[in-house]
Symmetry: C2
Subunit: 241 residues, 2 copies
């Protein structure tokens, strides 16, 4: 496989960074080709902005998604964006490694998505989910967090973690067509002992060894929805399946 690792942690010696490095090592040793976008190391600009478009279609009124389409068609998107778009397009597996900040991604990674997941290439109109631009490619989230598992499960104080990350897992990765593999979480990381961290790294290595058989999450199917993306009656959905 071609693997793109997108990493976002401000500390190169962090546990999340160790999980990233472990992934690079294990996947490379298994014969995969691995590219890395280390957002902090690149000093990546996460702010969607008019300056992203060299020759805007409408310089007086910025509609970001429309300019993304125009910039992609005319090849005038900012080079840092185009470079990342090409990396994502050519990968078989997109691996995101990051610490959970506020039950979501650090801003630098959120902005990588805001700027790189361009309208036209990644999605557009009804080209979403199983008709999205990234159909046939896989995505995996590997995230560290401070919470105990008991705090982020169904019935826990914050609720289920995969549900909290639904804007990313479904609303972003699933939305553009990726097969979204079951995420890998490292819990309670700042508070556990060295030995426990080594055990997590072992579990992560084992997961990476069988990555091609890792199950994917269920996503909506476009055949279940009509032209306005309203849910079809069950009989209609059957005809469109």
């Amino acid at each position: 496989m071609k693997v793109l690792v997108v990493h976002a942690h401000p500390e190169a010696k962090s546990f999340a960074s160790a999980m990233k490095s472990t992934a690079v090592d294990v996947l490379t040793a298994a014969g995969h080709t691995v590219e890395v976008t280390d957002l902090y190391a690149l000093n990546f600009n996460p702010v969607a902005n008019a300056a992203d478009f060299g020759v805007p279609q409408n310089g007086d009124y910025l509609v970001y998604a429309l300019e993304q389409r125009h910039g992609l068609e005319t090849g005038t998107l900012s080079a840092d964006i185009l470079n990342e778009v090409e990396k994502v397009r050519r990968c078989d597996l997109l691996l995101l490694t990051f610490p959970i900040y506020w039950f979501s991604m650090p801003a630098i990674l959120k902005g990588w998505i805001d700027r790189v997941f361009v309208s036209g290439a990644f999605y557009g109109g009804r080209r979403i989910y199983d008709r999205g631009g990234m159909v046939g490619q896989k995505a995996l989230v590997c995230a560290t967090l401070g919470s105990r598992q008991s705090m982020v499960c169904d019935g826990g104080i914050h609720g289920d973690l995969a549900m909290m990350l639904r804007p990313l897992l479904q609303g972003t990765l699933g939305y553009v067509g990726f097969d979204v593999l079951d995420p890998f979480f490292a819990y309670h990381v700042p508070y556990i002992q060295h030995q426990e961290r080594l055990e997590i790294l072992d579990a992560w290595r084992a997961s990476l060894g069988v990555i091609e058989r890792r199950p994917a999450m269920q996503m909506p199917t476009l055949a279940d929805f009509d032209e306005t993306l309203s849910r079809r009656l069950p009989s209609e959905a059957l005809q469109n399946a």
Copy 2:
């Protein structure tokens, strides 16, 4: 009331920006004191970084939350952060106005939270939800989006929008103790006619006129959880209520 409006849209003539300006006008006319943090206008840096700490506790290994505490205690946090911390601390109502990007905030607003909601002042240990740092203050989200309401409701293709925004509504605003008012959403904005947009602005004005009676969302109660934040048995919870 003292109101802090935090706004994040790259186009000053956008509908989201009109909603922000409408809020400033209506709330000011009603006698409230309104401050605005316009993140794009400020060119706010959203990237949590070692440079946020003038005199770090540990210059060799960055633990962001620990440095936030230290920086706050010693007054050595970056000035742009401290300035925003003070604005949030002194407001009675925090109003966030933004376009929904990927079922979440634009990165510039996510990064405002990553950097400004500092450990120690906003939360810490079991000082979360109804024991969080912002207890007694209110927060309201006002967001624009492209989806029709039928696409982001329970049973819709993307699921319920308030559920999608749970990392912000519960996991961030509720977590630090705000009374989180029912959010205001402007749907399908890029595709509707001028008249429909005027109607949304009218509804928004009306909402702002009765803001002090707007209902709040339900959040977890710390009394229901024990020292490790595991859920208590119902009998224990009763004793701790």
